[in-house]
């Protein structure tokens, strides 16, 4: 199977989130490998593999959700977490949830079941 590759560099930040999701789904459906270079952490949730780099050096990389749970490492380099990841991690500290929820609907259903 042949993969095409596209690289985005900070061009998706001001595009409507719904349209970005549709774009990424289209790329996945058509086996197009895309690399999105961004400082928008929310867009990281739409990818399957995450590389964090700082001053041209790779700090960490791996499965997106695994990388995003390296909270202390990311914050040391001035990176914030996507809102749902940060919220889930804080709720875990309060023993209100036991995993990361990526969508508000599932989280709300669980908390106020």
């Amino acid at each position: 199977m042949e993969y095409k590759k596209i690289i985005f560099f900070n061009i998706l930040n001001n595009i409507d989130e719904k349209e970005v999701k549709e774009l990424f789904q289209y790329l996945k459906d058509n086996n197009i490998v895309f690399i999105n270079i961004t400082n928008n952490v929310e867009l990281a949730l739409l990818t399957s593999y995450l590389i964090i780099y700082d001053n041209s050096k790779i700090i960490t990389e791996g499965n997106t959700l695994d990388v995003l749970q390296e909270e202390k490492l990311l914050k040391r380099f001035g990176l914030s977490l996507p809102f749902m990841v940060e919220l889930s991690l804080l709720l875990k500290d309060y023993n209100l949830v036991d995993k990361i929820y990526l969508d508000k609907e599932s989280l709300v259903d669980y908390l106020w079941k």
Binding site: G78, L87, V108
Partner: protein, 187 residues
């Protein structure tokens, strides 16, 4: 009402609009005629190693800080595009600096951005500006009309979603207060 009238009543205002700095990219930092250059660079989180660098060779975050350094002696400081150029640590630092410039040096501050979160803990007064016309203004981050013009921050989206079912979370922009609120609500 014009922005200068609004500035009479507010020390810091947030403006939803596009912003581009006017730095001359081909000049070296030392050629930008910044007053008290070394101190200005230090104040914005840069240092004297930047003096002989060309603006175009600086990163986006360094250019944003430099942009601010060129304006420190202005009575009205207009700065923008912080969300797209600064990481959260740098953003926090610059916001504290802007508040200090307002409170201790009586500067009026205008922050221009396309992300409402940038204005959290900086100002409550938000203006939507397009083609030099004020389209909307508010002092309430939870004002639905504001989000006809700009994307709603995730924390506000979450609280509004929860409150649709009368679960009664307070209107918080601080995630730690939100957590306490959720804890109280579900316990």
């Amino acid at each position: 009402m014009e922005i200068k009238d609004i500035l009479n009543n507010y020390g810091v205002i947030g403006v939803i609009s596009n912003y581009q700095n006017n730095l001359n990219k081909d000049k070296m930092v030392i050629e930008l005629n910044i007053n008290n250059l070394n101190n200005a660079l230090k104040m914005v989180g840069l240092n004297d190693t930047f003096i002989n660098k060309k603006v175009k060779d600086l990163s986006l975050s360094e250019q944003t800080k430099l942009d601010l350094a060129t304006k420190l002696t202005n009575d009205i400081i207009i700065i923008g595009n912080l969300a797209n150029t600064l990481n959260y640590k740098d953003l926090d630092f610059i916001k504290k600096l802007l508040l200090k410039l307002n409170k201790e040096y009586n500067k009026k501050i205008v922050v221009i951005d396309n992300k409402v979160d940038v204005f959290f803990n900086l100002t409550k007064k938000i203006i939507v500006l397009q083609n030099k016309t004020i389209l909307y203004e508010t002092e309430d981050y939870f004002d639905d009309n504001l989000y006809k013009y700009v994307r709603m921050p995730k924390i506000i989206e979450f609280i509004k979603y929860v409150n649709k079912d009368n679960k009664k979370l307070d209107n918080n922009i601080d995630i730690y207060e939100l957590i306490k609120d959720i804890y109280r609500s579900v316990s």
